[in-house]
Symmetry: D2
Subunit: 146 residues, 4 copies
């Protein structure tokens, strides 16, 4: 299956005083893209790998690290940007998402590339929780095509 | 013509510690809806009443006042919310937008209603600038239906 | 006792593309000022009228309405702005905060004035919950001086 | 001289639905800390290495990359967090800031460590601009102590 790409809307307010999308706002866009690609919608048990991203869930996914490379300035635009994601690594209790954010779906050059490791933890104890077999298999469907 | 309604995407990050869309984030959603309804897209001279909302423009629209009524909690959802807007007043250098934000386009009850006055000012002097005839006429097209 | 004033730090990122503090960010500043003035610090039972503003509390304070008047542009500054607050009304299950945000503590003219009604609700039922006698008395200490 | 540490205030609104400071908000805190440590305050030519971080400046500092490691959850607190920064690398037109964010100034363990490369570019051409001699020397004052 390989990578998945989801559209995310910019907001005028994502701009900073330099009149381009702020580097912090980029991280917000990647958060939203990730949630839409891999978690079920709230109130639904749809096709997400994980149940809805809600505090009442016993297992939380926490961001353990993030690496971002801002390759070009991103001006505000009305059309959504596209965030392509693949899963480059699946560990026992964690997985790594690779991101490429483009101003248009079929642009050659991404504006931002990034990757982040998410760790599954128990909300009460804070301890890492192993991904189950189905989750691991479904995550592996998103392995980057070689 | 009356009111216009535009969809705006929520973000998971718009939630606060109470797990609902934060009251501050609501104001951000209204800002985005307003920009999309009445200003041209950046780099375009499309159907907007005003040119693109960019700092290089000589005339800026500043928010002079805002009144918000939060009628019900708004949980995060994947589908966009809909912001219906009409122009309830057109002054010499200002106009007033009435907003109703709904979780779905055809919901009866809005989650939030609001109105805000925007004042056109010269970016260099900060002085109010009169709306031109075309702008006034086009704004009046959005008068609430009585 | 009358009004209370608390300092709140601006952030460079509170600016929008116009290079001034964004109108939405102002609402965030008022939220922070309010929390610091009337709620105990997290993990403490200090001098706040209400216990720490945490989702685990049974009673939540929700913003029911907000009125803001933006009187002058607020540029980014390193020194904190000062938010003066008084309690203009105490109802059965609600109270109203009046705000004046100034660039410096002793400025004559505020940049923003506002008021908002907060309603106490039960987190599970969503129903209004009456303020208790001590809370009402302490809120009345902040009545505007006449 | 080595590292510099600056306090930055959290906001209640920096929390996400999990009731801890959101990973995106952390990046905002680091942005503010960096601005306060190395840029002059607006309207001043104070001790900053660079002139005020304003769009009217001819040379902009853009974030080229960011690496973050979230080592522990950060709950909201009233006291500021402390961001310690040193300059680990000075290039021709760029420099690298190392960050350690702690819940209290003298905590042993940071909650977050990070580093980011900033590139100086001409605001009109977007081209890299060399740091001048004074800037390079002053940046080198913040080299990590070995």
């Amino acid at each position: 299956m390989g990578a998945v790409a989801v559209p995310v809307e910019l907001r005028w307010g994502d701009q900073d005083a330099y009149g381009h999308i702020n580097n912090v706002a980029i991280l917000r866009l990647l958060e939203e893209a990730r949630a839409r690609a891999f978690w079920s919608a709230p109130g639904a048990q749809d096709s997400g790998i994980f149940p809805p991203l809600e505090p009442a869930q016993q297992i939380w996914a926490l961001v353990a690290d993030f690496q971002l490379r801002y390759r070009a300035q991103l001006p505000y635009q009305r059309d959504p940007v596209w965030v392509q994601m693949s899963i480059s690594k699946v560990g026992g209790a964690s997985f790594t998402i690779d991101y490429a954010l483009r101003a248009a779906k079929h642009d050659a050059a991404p504006k931002v590339t990034a990757y982040s490791t998410l760790v599954m933890v128990d909300r009460d104890t804070g301890r890492p929780q192993r991904l189950n077999t189905e989750q691991r298999e479904r995550l592996q469907d998103y392995a980057p095509e070689s």
